[in-house]
Amino acid sequence: MSERTVLQTQQISGHPGPVPGRGTQRDLEVCKLVDTTTCIGCKACEVACVEWNDMPFQPTTFDNTYQTMPETNWNYWNLIKFREHQREDGTLMWLMRKDQCMHCGDPGCLDACPADGAIVKYANGIVDFHQENCIGCEFCVSGCPFNIPRFNPETKKVYKCTLCSDRVGQGLEPACIKACPTGCLHFGTKEDMKALAETRSKQLREVSGFKDAGVYDPEGVGGTHVIYVLHDAQNPELYAGLPKDPKVSFAYKAWKSIFKPLGLIGATLGFVGVVFHYVFEGPRREQPEVPPTKPQSPAGRKEA
């Protein structure tokens, strides 16, 4: 972005040594890195999330796994999804994935949302819901390839992870990052997190024997601002249904932005049509038509 470079100092007169700050211009886009290979499923991030966002804990359902509840909720935005996976050699793996909003580069919820200002995407990549503008239509739920937005039937508004936009805006890391005890969660610029994730994947491939380890940063939604390191990047579905190639639906892309406005123009042609018909063909009157009133011939004027 140009405005970031406009005021970046390049040279300083009479200044000894290197120009301070030069070359340290960072990528504005933030990113959360979730290293699923070091998650121990302690749920500290879940607690930190409900604490920071001041959401009361709700009664939950125990489904015989190490999962707090079956799905995220309108007041529970961050859930460690637990799956037991049997590998080809018969050994078991516990896959734990922190499920929350992915903060897509190309957010499907935002494309689907018809309400003015209900969903915003900040320049740093955070996608935020503004409930005061939400009309409760739930199109974001169907537009999201990750099934994240959650509807509160009482307020008729939709909620989801904000990536702690209130904290990040003040230069703090998100609450979940602060709470994580294993260092499985990282927060920084997209570039840095991407590099860190690649390094970790390389380590997993070369040292730890996870040949398919890799980074999950799906291109189909323009990359995400929450990225994963997975043991098996070829099969993200194993991690509680992480979509392999998420995409924003045609309905909220081409249809909404191109074909629907064209259709509206097409429909107004009906109006244009009847106006033209009235002007050029005229109405169709009952027969026999009442003849036009005879012009009152003024005295002296000869009629045709």
Binding site: P114, D116, G136, S142, K156, S249, A267, Y278, E281, R284
Partner: protein, 267 residues
């Protein structure tokens, strides 16, 4: 001559006898019962309320100014499906009511073949086989019926949302709902035009419930024959002759009434 005012009630639910009645004046034919008219305006109002709330909610880039009239965007969105259900409910009753007269016949296929002549007003009166509704009216009726079903099914899917029906079903419904709305909007302009400016004398069929006999033999000759037992073309010709005779009589009267009168302009 016949009595100047005749009262006519067709068979219809008892409630609607109390709601209103249809007065058929001389030279008129009863066309729509109170029940039919009630249904028409009920779903007509629902249609426009659903249209405007739909516009305000789902095309806000052009129509967000409509939302305050319905109590703000959230309320507008909340009301829209109820208006839609109202529209489908009343139109559904009308569809049952009109199922018989709207049945497609050979005459309607012939009418559709002559659509371009109709649009260009090439013939002053409709062909003799055009009944109570012409092919165009029937086409619109069936379009609205199919559109209503699409509205209802896709609307319920979107109303319950992706939580109940899944993201794909909602996305597909979104497109189908839009298409149905756009097609119906396209059609409604023709309906409004034909009922008012396009064919003067039509709208009273849905307000008073009657049309003039001249309207009937012009726009629905076969229906005229069915209602009166008279030949529509003959009736038209008789009326024409009657008017010419009347014109002549007036002229003669003017001529004989003395030199003070200015001569008639008619040569």
């Amino acid at each position: 001559m016949a009595t100047s005012i005749g009262r006519w009630q067709e068979k219809e639910p008892g409630l609607f006898d109390k709601l209103g009645h249809t007065v058929v004046h001389e030279g008129e034919l009863p066309r729509h019962s109170v029940y039919t008219r009630f249904l028409h305006w009920a779903y007509g109002i629902c249609f426009f309320l659903a249209l405007f709330t739909g516009f305000a909610t789902y095309m806000p880039f052009l129509f967000r100014w409509l939302a305050p009239a319905f109590g703000g965007p959230a309320t507008t969105r909340m009301l829209h499906p109820y208006f839609g259900v109202g529209f489908v409910f009343f139109f559904g009753l009308q569809a049952i009511n009109w199922w018989g007269p709207m049945t497609w016949t050979e005459a309607d296929s012939r009418w559709m073949g002559r659509l371009s002549q109709f649009l260009r007003n090439e013939e002053a009166v409709e062909p003799e086989d055009v009944g109570m509704y012409n092919g165009g009216q029937k086409l619109q009726f069936w379009e609205i019926l199919v559109g209503s079903i699409v509205f209802l099914v896709s609307g319920i899917i979107m109303w319950a949302g992706a939580r109940s029906f899944g993201a794909t079903a909602v996305a597909v419904s979104y497109i189908l709902h839009d298409i149905s709305a756009l097609v119906m909007l396209f059609g409604i302009f023709f309906h409004l035009y034909q009922a008012t400016f396009g064919q003067p004398g039509t709208i009273q069929a849905m307000t008073k419930g009657t049309v003039s006999e001249a309207w009937a033999w012009t726009h629905a000759p076969a229906w005229y024959r069915q209602m009166t037992g008279r030949d529509p073309r003959q009736a038209l010709e008789q009326e024409r002759q009657r008017r010419i005779a009347r014109e002549r009589a007036i002229e003669q009267l003017a001529r004989s009434s003395g030199p003070g009168q200015p001569p008639s302009g008619r040569s």
